[in-house]
Every structure is written in structure tokens, then in C-alpha cells.
Subunit: 122 residues, 2 copies
DNA sequence: CAACTATATAATTATATAGTTATATAGAGA
DNA sequence: TCTCTATATAACTATATAATTATATAGTTG
């Protein structure tokens, strides 16, 4: 069998491109920053402690990928999440990674680490 | 506010790594090939028409990322999906991309293209 | 229009990695 | 042990891209 695929080559390419967009920590952090609501570039730059051109470039990448939107207001440009799907993606990956890490712990027969900052005062 | 983040830096890094793993068309195609069940390396190489070392390298990457498993049987090594989450991820990305593309169509006021190979004979 | 501010782009450098070719390893069988 | 086969690894090349520095653009205010 040559092609047991569900996706065409072009579609696979497109999906890979999306994943690659999310495969950069700085871009994930930008998305996290926008999760609370729209932000001007300057606020993102400040929050992430990176250079303005670097943030701008990542914003353009996310914009082209359709993950964020922009809106002009005077001198400021506000960016916001266009496709909340990204957060579901992150949750999925995150919980899967967590579960795997816990499994590895069991596999190595190590005790569960104490939780940091356990609920409750004192 | 400096850190409005839900994820620690290390976790963000980990999640990005996972996404990057899925950001390569060849690796997506390997996963698609494995969707039907475990396969020896040789079968994957044949199905994807790539070189054996290249496939092997991608398999190691996916293995380290915990997305696939391996099992030896004589000279053959069978790989299989370890975490079916990847397919849910792909579906999410895929449907989001599709919807966006349709939206762009509307935005440009273009007519819907005819579906290829419509159901029904002749 | 000139000066200022926020953002975008260009040019560059450094690093990561996909793919190739050649070689190594590990198990099977004579 | 020698040979054969399946897979893995090493060394290399070519390409993509993240971050930086310098500059351009677009809107604002005087």
C-alpha cells in the first residue's frame, strides 16, 4: 500500500505549519499573555521581557497563521486571540505531558514529590 | 504585571517541544502510517518513500517525545502509537484550519468550489 | 510640516535540524 | 564464527528561523 493517509499532502503540510507555529516558547508565551484579553504590542513586550522587533515578528507569524487578530487604535495596535482552539490544544498537550511524566516516575519507582505551595494558609 | 502566566517557563518549554515534534510533515505522516496499527520500520520507509536513516531518526524523535512505542520481534522493530492524543490534536488543528480557509473564501466573496469525487457512482 | 511615538521591516548572525551518505550495531541462521 | 538482514548512528550539507541592530512606516501632536 502506498498511501494509507487520511490527509492530502498539502493538508498535512498545512497542519504541520500550524504546529510549528506553536512550537516556539516565545509564541506560546505571547498567546498566554493574550489569553487575558487584547493587548498592545508594548504591553506584550514588557510582559515577556523581549525586544520589540522580536515580539513584532512573532506577532506577524501568529497573525498570518490566523491565531490572532489586530485592531488599530491611534498609535497602538491591539492584538487578541482569534482562535481559542489554541488553548484547548495546549491543555491537551500539557495534560498528556504531565501524565507521561507521572508515569515515568512510577516506572522508576520514585516517590511522589511534595506539591509546592499546598492549599491552605501557613 | 510581569507574569500573568498559567504555565511555568519549563512547562511552556516542554509544551513547545511537543508541538515542534508535530511540526514536521514527515513525522505527521509517520504517525498517520501508524494510525492503522503497529508497523516495522521497513514498512514505514516503503509507505513514505523516504530513506531508512531519515525515517529512523524521526522515529527516535517521536519515541523520545513519548508519542510512539517500540517492540522488538526478531530482526524487526515494530513501532506503534503510544499516545492517541496526537490524533485529537490533529483533528482540532485540521478543522480549525479548514474553517479558517472557508471563512477566507467568504471574505473574498468567492463561490464554493465543487467537491472532488462526490458520493455516488458515475 | 517637523518632531514624536508605536509598530513593522530589513539585514545580519547564530543555531537547529531535515535529509543524505557511509558505517555501526544487533539479532538470525548457515 | 561468518554472513545476512533490519535498524540505528555518525558526519556532513543545506535550509530555516530566532534574536539582534538599525531603519522604515504610520499615526499623532505641536
Amino acid at each position: 500500500m502506498k498511501t494509507p493517509l487520511k490527509m492530502s499532502g498539502a493538508l498535512t503540510e498545512l497542519v504541520a505549519q500550524r504546529f510549528r507555529l506553536l512550537g516556539e516558547p516565545m509564541r506560546l508565551r505571547i498567546l498566554q499573555t493574550l489569553e487575558g484579553g487584547e493587548q498592545p504590542v508594548s504591553a506584550i513586550v514588557e510582559a515577556l521581557e523581549s525586544s520589540q522587533p522580536n515580539i513584532s515578528k512573532h506577532l506577524q507569524a501568529l497573525l498570518q497563521g490566523g491565531l490572532i487578530r489586530r485592531r488599530r487604535e491611534g498609535l497602538n495596535i491591539f492584538y487578541s486571540i482569534a482562535d481559542p482552539m489554541v488553548f484547548r490544544l495546549c491543555e491537551l498537550v500539557c495534560s498528556s505531558a504531565a501524565q507521561q511524566t507521572r508515569a515515568r516516575l512510577v516506572e522508576l519507582d520514585l516517590p511522589n514529590p511534595a506539591r509546592r505551595a499546598p492549599a491552605g494558609r501557613r
